[in-house]
């Protein structure tokens, strides 16, 4: 079962999306609504607690008005109370997002809330990820200006959203980008295209009274980047640096932060090759030095690994370790042509991906009562602690007009102590095998079967099996059932057999959905194991639950 479907069942419950547009001479109004409701049933076997309210709901509605170069919008949010796993500071109703934007020739001005990113986000990215309960939108002013062709300037000032309030720190920053081939006419026809950019961001947060240390009130970070394209070849690299930024995250050390991101790819018909690498050192950057979890993050760094969608492959998702990480990802994809031995009648796609992350190479400095630099870093150095490895082979094959399959093998090494803070636990080594077969019953009806297996070295994880059956009926209806079951046993050092944490428990789930035009209603019932849900390398903990879920989305 794809995690996309699963996560809808898991985290929310109902999702309704309505969208219509009223095009009038006076402008256009767009809107959408989403509501996720879950009724919880206590289940001591899986650790699902009693929820006093019994039923919880997350909902929001957007209203956006546009006319010519003017637009304005607002988002109403309602949490009565927030779904399990979401921060309880999401409570009640409010309009935490509203903005006005207008564009006058080369100038664009936004006042109110906005999302923005400089370069790859190494020093600044504000965004919303509803599944994580993450919304660090800026509230303030943004100005974009294009002084000449191919040159783009941005300036921002404001504070970040913190649930229904705002963070303490003030952010000020600017970003400039030049698309060389657009700016210089002589280069317009050149095969090689080059884009360069640079950005600077500073946060201001008042220093605390009576503090143990002299905290900097203004912390600046800067970054430079270059992007080169020639034919099927692409290369992007960005370097960022942050000055002393003592915080809860880094134990109040005054060392500077550094980050470098390198991404390259080559693609031609039927073949692609990518190689990415990243080094992060003390780069957790927030607008409040005391903030924790996903609150008030300023910088962003995507995890260099496959974002698995299959349940067992995504059981232990990796999250970027912005305090220190050297990571890489490489992938080769090839399509065996139709009519060849391996390609068969319809061709065969194969993808091999290998990604990994390690600690950084550091030397401890005994200066905690002095300059408090904490440690020295060997830049690009690879530490000896393995954070993550994932070797993946995925084959997509269509056998006939009625049958297509996806086969996936993943070998993972996951440092649960570092990534999930479960100190003392050894790395989890696991092998995952997945078969996904779709059989077309008719042109508008399909039967899909997923069989998944995960075997591990760890009694905490155990050995999992998943079976899913999904039927699509016409263009409007779908019904799916799946079961997730842990059958693993583990022999400890003393030779005793113990069971995995969720041994012999069936996490059964059934769901059905109706989709028509822009409306979607889905209903599901079942159990959800406790775990971690990640998007783009940022994660939140999902507690165990059992119950009925309704999701509605609609737009107009």
């Amino acid at each position: 079962m794809k995690l996309l479907n699963f996560s809808l069942v898991v985290s929310v419950i109902s999702f309704l999306n309505i969208s219509k547009t009223y095009a009038q001479s006076t402008g256009e109004i767009h809107g959408n609504f989403q509501s996720d409701v879950q009724y919880y049933i206590p289940d001591s076997a899986i650790g699902a607690d009693t929820i006093p309210e019994k039923m919880l709901m997350n909902a929001f509605a957007n209203i956006i008005y546009t006319k010519d170069k003017f637009s304005a919008g607002a988002r109403f949010e309602s949490y009565h109370n927030a779904l399990l796993g979401f921060d309880p500071r999401y409570t009640g109703n409010g309009i935490p997002y509203r903005y006005i934007t207008y564009k006058a020739d080369e100038l664009e001005v936004t006042v109110g809330h906005y999302y923005e990113q400089f370069g790859n986000g190494l020093i600044f990215r504000t965004y919303e990820e509803r599944g994580l309960g993450l919304d660090n939108a800026m509230d303030g002013v943004r100005v974009k200006y294009e002084p000449c062709k191919g040159v783009y300037l941005k300036g921002i000032v404001g504070k970040q959203r913190l649930y229904f309030t705002e963070g303490e720190g003030i952010l000020r920053g600017f970003d400039g980008e030049m698309q060389i081939n657009e700016t210089f006419k002589k280069l317009a026809e050149k095969k090689t295209q080059v884009i360069v950019g640079g950005s600077f961001l500073s946060k201001f947060q008042k220093k605390p009274n009576n503090a143990q240390y002299i905290f900097p009130e203004n912390v600046g970070a800067s970054a430079g980047r270059i992007h080169i394209i020639r034919g099927g070849f692409r290369l992007t690299t960005e370097y960022a640096e942050k000055i002393n930024d003592p915080s809860n995250d880094n134990g109040n050390i005054f060392k500077k932060g550094q980050a470098i991101l390198f991404m390259s790819s080559y693609a031609k018909k039927g073949f692609s090759l990518t190689f990415n690498a990243k080094h992060l050192d003390n780069m957790t950057f927030r607008s409040d030095r005391n903030a924790l979890t996903n609150d008030l993050l300023i910088s962003y760094s995507p995890a260099l690994c496959i974002q698995h969608t299959y349940l067992l492959a995504a059981l232990y998702p990796y999250a970027s370790q912005s305090l220190g990480e050297t990571s890489f990802q490489s992938e080769v994809a090839y399509k065996f042509k139709k009519g060849t031995t391996l390609g068969g009648k319809y061709g065969t796609d194969i993808k091999i991906n290998y990604s990994g992350a390690n600690s950084i190479d550091t030397t401890h400095l005994n200066d905690i009562n002095g300059r408090r630099m904490g440690y020295k870093t060997n830049f690009w150095g690879i530490g000896n602690q393995t954070y993550f490895r994932d070797f993946v082979v995925e084959i997509n094959k269509k056998f006939s007009k009625k049958i297509k399959t996806t086969l996936l093998y993943s070998n993972q090494n996951f440092n649960i102590a570092v990534v999930q803070g479960k100190h003392g636990k050894p790395n989890i080594l696991s092998n995952i095998i997945i078969a996904d077969v779709t059989y077309m019953l008719a042109s508008d009806r399909a039967l899909r079967v997923e069989l998944q297996s995960l075997t591990s070295n760890d009694h905490y994880v155990g050995d999992w099996a998943v079976a899913l059956l999904e039927v699509t009926l016409g263009t409007h209806w779908y019904v799916a059932v799946f079961d997730q079951y842990n059958y693993g046993e583990y022999t400890d050092e003393a030779g005793h057999k113990t069971n995995a944490d969720y041994n012999k428990i069936h996490f059964f789930n059934a769901s059905a959905g109706y989709i028509k035009n822009a409306n979607r209603i889905s209903l599901s019932y079942g159990k959800q194991r406790a775990g971690v849900f990640c998007v783009g390398g940022v994660c939140r903990t999902v507690p165990a639950s059992n119950g009925l879920t309704l999701s509605i989305t609609s737009s107009f």
Partner: protein, 300 residues
């Protein structure tokens, strides 16, 4: 081209101006702090508690209107004898810094009454204009600045609170060794009503009646008497340390002692022992409101 240079200059100014590089993150240790472990704890006698109000007069020797405020404070102190603990805090480079003043003799304002404690207070309480007052630091508000009291409300504000029963009593016993110049100061605090919160004790060194230059209503006065001048913090931090927190019962008391080696000079201004006082106050760490203050001369 000129525009480009201007934009570049502005950009670099923003970058450089938006970064605070900290080379030494550990706050400087007050080198005059002594070892209090050898200070023998005296016996405190029972005294009837009296409401005592900390009156901070933010001032500067080159602030021409400040002497009028100081005179008003003196009148209020006289009228409420025994209830006011005045504290003159010299702040801002413009009004309290060293350097020439228009029409003044060369070298007349070469001394500096400013202290790191006073600077920190001015920073947190956003004291930008002088004269300025705070009365028990009432009504603290970070943006509305309602804690800053103009001279026109001083008398009434004092009248409104002076007859309130004290919530805390403070007693100070000083023991000064004139040969070693070590001061042992013992502070007994007692809560007279139940309270909830975190309460800090701050102990300051104050010098009264220093004769030095002052700009007074346009005239440079070489023989101005500077009253109740804050000279240093005796507590390691000017914000003190907690003496009680949580639910504090009535009669909860504590004796805290500090040792301080009195220097001959502070910021090149002689420390004249007969002029020296210890001022102590207890405040609510959440609101900054001072519950009680006390003043005791070091030499009897």
């Amino acid at each position: 081209m000129k525009e480009k240079k201007l934009y570049t200059a502005i950009a670099f100014a923003i970058i450089l101006g938006s970064c605070d590089y900290i080379s030494d993150p550990i706050p400087p240790i007050n080198e005059n702090l002594g070892d209090a472990s050898s200070c023998a704890t005296p016996t405190f006698t029972t005294v009837a508690p009296v409401k005592k109000i900390l009156f901070e007069d933010y001032t500067g020797h080159k602030c021409t209107n400040c002497p009028n405020a100081a005179r008003l404070l003196h009148d209020i102190d006289t009228a409420n004898h025994g209830h006011i603990i005045p504290l003159a805090v010299h702040v801002t480079q413009l009004y309290a810094g060293t350097g020439p003043a228009s029409g003044a003799q060369a070298g007349s304002y070469s001394y500096d009454f400013r202290t790191s404690a006073g600077n920190e207070y001015a920073d947190v309480f956003k004291i930008a204009s002088l004269p300025n007052g705070m009365i028990n630091r009432l009504n603290f508000h970070e943006t509305n600045l309602t804690h800053q009291k103009g001279a026109n409300v001083w008398t009434n504000t004092i009248a409104n609170i002076v007859n309130q029963p004290p919530k805390v009593s403070i007693q100070i016993i000083n023991d000064f060794n004139s040969s070693s110049k070590k001061l042992c100061t013992h502070i007994k605090t007692e809560f007279l009503t139940p309270n909830t919160g975190t309460f800090n004790l701050v102990v300051l060194l104050v010098q009264d009646s220093i004769e030095a230059w002052q700009l007074d209503l346009g005239t440079h006065n070489e023989h101005y008497i500077h009253r109740h001048v804050l000279r240093a913090s005796i507590t390691p931090s000017e914000w003190g340390d907690a003496i009680a927190n949580g639910n504090i019962p009535m009669s909860y008391n504590k004796i805290t002692k500090f040792a301080y080696n009195i220097p001959d000079y502070i910021s090149n201004i002689a420390v004249n022992m007969p002029q020296m006082h210890v001022v102590a106050y207890v405040y609510d760490a959440a609101t900054y409101e001072v519950l009680q203050a006390e003043d005791e001369k070091i030499l009897p």
